[in-house]
Amino acid sequence: MAKSQSASLDRKKLMGDPIMVTTIVLLIVFLTVFILYPLAILLVDSFINESGVTLSTFKRVMDLANFRRAITNTLKVGFVVGIASALIGLLFAYVEVYVKLRTKFMEGLFKVVSMLPVVSPPFVLSLSMIMLFGKAGIITRFLLKIYDNSVYGFWGITIVQTLTFFPVCYMMLKGLLKNIDPSLEEAARDMGASRSKVFMTVTLPLILPGLGNAFLVTFIESIADFANPMIIGGSYDTLATTIYLQITGAYDKQGAAAMAVILLAITLLMFVVQKYYLERKSTATLSGKASRERMLITDKSVTIPLSIICSALALFVIIMYICVPFGAMFKTWGYDFHLTFKWFKQVFVKYKGFKAFKDSFILSLISAPITALLSMIISYLVVKRKFKGKGFIEAVSMLAMAVPGTVLGIGYIRGFSGGLFGSGFLQGLYGTGAILVIVFVVRSLPTGTRSGISALRQIDKSIEESAYDMGADSFKVFMTVTLPLIKDSFLSGFVTSFVRSITAISAIILLVTPSYLLITVQINEFAEKGSYGIACAFASILILITYGSVLLMNFIIKHFGTSRRIKTED
């Protein structure tokens, strides 16, 4: 038996579709040049020197005491943050799905918490942490009269990262808990198990893989995080900041490359475990649909303590965000609480704030539609089409998720500063806005692709086949059928990628040149200098922009989205 004829026919059919072939080829080139190539260059850089293949670069960086410390620091923070975020996320998810707390106030709190990770710029929590608990912190200095509290270091990073990442765990676990068939737990109750026994013997084992999944996702995010350790880490260096300093401070490009390879190896390993083991397992155990609605827990001895804990946590996070605009409006934080606009004025008059917002805004606005369209095309190809190279496209665009921004940044420096392979080809790209746009696209592509894939999986394959059968070519099918049907996913991909780009820092800070001023880089700079008023002023406007975009997106989807038209008339 040979399947050769069908393979060659499929190839012929594909070749008869030039737009499709061109798209696939361009995609593969794009992914290879802008994701695989920079990472490969890092490997080459760190393994090869004048004398051939060698481990000497690795040996050199491993001999650096501060690098060894950075590895343990990073893993320690990642571990604690991962566990804390997963547990707090589980608490919120459990309360939302299982406990009757239907007051408007609580609903509002939960909604805000679930939206925060989408709109939050990276260092906001670090800034407010310093302003609340630092040496001049409102809480430490004025309420508790502690004058020498230090928020910098392990606990600062851990608390800030936990508060930043737990909402993601909450959303992930909420989805899983909702999929548990209530009758499983009712059966256990019926056989005489107490509520806590049911939780320990039924609910928890069912979501254990999902909990592990949430832990690993947070772990990866935590060790890849650059912004928070930068601002609140103080002398407590993590891998991301050490790599940054190695290249910007010590100008040791080879050493930085080797460090980046080590960081990448850690995140990749975690990613592989998460993606190919835990994610599969967590959906496999909970593929069932809830047969009917769950009886919510109304027992006051359960609801009151849980709602107090959740509200307190949620309010704390919200206060931290509110702190930022106030930080931008007080004359001198911690000393003089008169309201003033001098920081905003300084941002725009003295520090070219207008240009910073314009540059960030325009670059993000260019990259957003590219990302959204690219991720929809990738999802379409992955879900709906059969061709050689499909596995490559899917794997590489997902791989980008596991690549820390700092690693990508170093890869771009090494890969493009002298052109491709140092040949000078594409050298013109380096230092331009175009390379920033490309980095934005690459950084947001995995999220967009993931949401596109799950949206497309819900569309019956035969809808596209029918259009194809009626005489439409691939391009026509994509434009007239696929894209209109996943318009919502496209829109949210657009906004998500815009928000992610305008708040990005880790890769960008390594690649930006003085001709571009970016908001996030400015915030970082002023926060480093201790000019919190100006940093807060920048951050407040940034939050306004991101929050506004998300509101606008929700409005558009609600009023012009496809799903409304298709679903509500059912």
């Binding site: 038996m1 040979a2 399947k3 050769s4 004829q5 069908s6 393979a7 026919l9 499929d10 012929k12 059919k13 008869g16 579709d17 019956d460 035969s462 809808i463 086949e465 029918s466 259009a467 194809y468 059968d469 009626m470 005489g471 439409a472 070519d473 026509k476 007239t480 059928v481 209109p484 049907l485 496809t562 038209r565 298709i566 008339e569 059912d570």
Partner: protein
């Protein structure tokens, strides 16, 4: 209505798939040779997994055959993509475009052919009238019942005047009553349009009701190509006999031309080209025999039940349990469980395999 009726020819077509569990290759369709006449209505019939849908999808172009060549008219079409083939398919799930209204759904293929607006309007209106959906142009697809959606899917396929119309189990999502009326409708429209149609179903009564010819498939093999009547009365093998209608198989031995010995008695039975002395299976349809007190083959009634239109018996003959349905039981003697009775065969009902 169709510009040109086209025939379809499958020349030694095979399709190989990989079994996802064992990782081994197997034939989903094996060496299929079919000749479908222009203008005829042909049904691919078989249990699930027999390869009928794969065959249809190869004709449409969604799958590529591993061996052989498919011809549409005289043109080999193996290397053509679905959009370049002169076929139109009616999908099991209807596959209407949910973001378009009925008019735009039906006009989709015409617009792709860059037809004049007024021509499109006229064609769509005409075809909607043919399928009985006048005036529904502006409805959205989810405002229609299942039967109406099916008609839109049919209209959409018919309006582009394809050389061949393909149906992939189009009625399986409808309720039983609607299924019966829709199949008559499909047959009427196919005849009016004078179009070649290839229809896939696992429902044998649907296939019998609608087709000029049935192609019965099993495990990737074509078992029989014939009219529904031939398949019922002269099945090629046990599988076909069992799949089309109900069948009893009685062990027998050919005594002479058209004489078979069953359980010690000689009966009249079509033997075809079988030689005397050959062991054979005699096919008996439940309605082909009746019970009486006298006759050739004796049996014992094991089960007897009044079903209204007929009396349902299970009769033990030797070690074989035979199902008999005696119609109009009001006029004949009713045997009870445990009674002895003789089988009487009507003329031309037995067929030896």
């Amino acid at each position: 209505m169709a510009k040109e009726k086209k025939g379809v020819r499958l020349d030694h077509i095979s399709k190989i798939y990989k079994d996802p569990k064992t990782g081994k290759d197997f034939y989903a369709v094996k060496d299929a040779n079919l000749e479908i006449e222009p203008g005829s209505f042909v049904t691919l019939l078989g249990p699930s997994g027999c390869g009928k849908t794969t065959t249809l999808r190869m004709i449409a172009g969604f799958e590529s055959p591993d061996e052989g060549e498919i011809y549409l008219g005289n043109e080999p079409i193996n290397a053509l993509t679905p959009n370049k083939r002169d076929t139109a398919m009616v999908f099991q799930s209807y596959a209407l475009l949910p973001h378009y209204n009925i008019f735009d759904n039906v006009a989709y293929g015409l617009k792709l052919r860059k037809m004049d607006k007024n021509v499109i309007k006229k064609k769509v209106t005409d075809i909607l009238a043919l399928v009985g959906l006048e005036g529904m142009e502006n409805r959205m697809t989810n405002q229609l019942s299942g039967g109406q959606q099916q008609r839109v899917a049919l209209a959409r396929a018919l309006v582009i005047e394809p050389g061949v119309l393909l149906f992939d189990e189009p009625l399986s999502n409808l309720d039983a009553k609607l299924r019966v009326s829709m199949r008559t409708e499909i047959r009427r429209i196919q005849q009016e349009a004078g179009i070649t149609a290839i229809y896939v179903t696992h429902d044998q009564s649907e296939a019998m009701a609608i087709s000029d010819k049935v192609i019965i498939m099993n495990k990737g093999n074509v078992e029989q190509i014939s009219t529904p009547q031939e398949a019922y009365y002269y099945p090629n093998n046990k599988f076909v006999a069992d799949f089309i209608g109900e069948a009893n198989f009685l062990k027998g031995k050919v005594k002479a031309q058209d004489v078979v010995e069953i359980n010690g008695s000689d009966v009249k039975c079509a033997t075809g080209s079988m030689q005397a002395g050959a062991e054979c299976n005699v096919v008996l349809r439940p309605e082909g025999a009746s019970l009486s007190d006298k006759g050739s083959i004796k049996g014992k009634v094991m089960y007897s039940c009044f079903m209204g239109a007929y009396q349902d018996y299970h009769v033990l003959i030797g070690d074989t349990l035979v199902k008999i349905q005696e119609y109009n039981p009001k006029n004949s003697k009713i045997y009870k469980v445990g009674d002895e009775a003789f089988l009487n065969f009507e003329d031309n009902t037995l067929y030896a395999l």
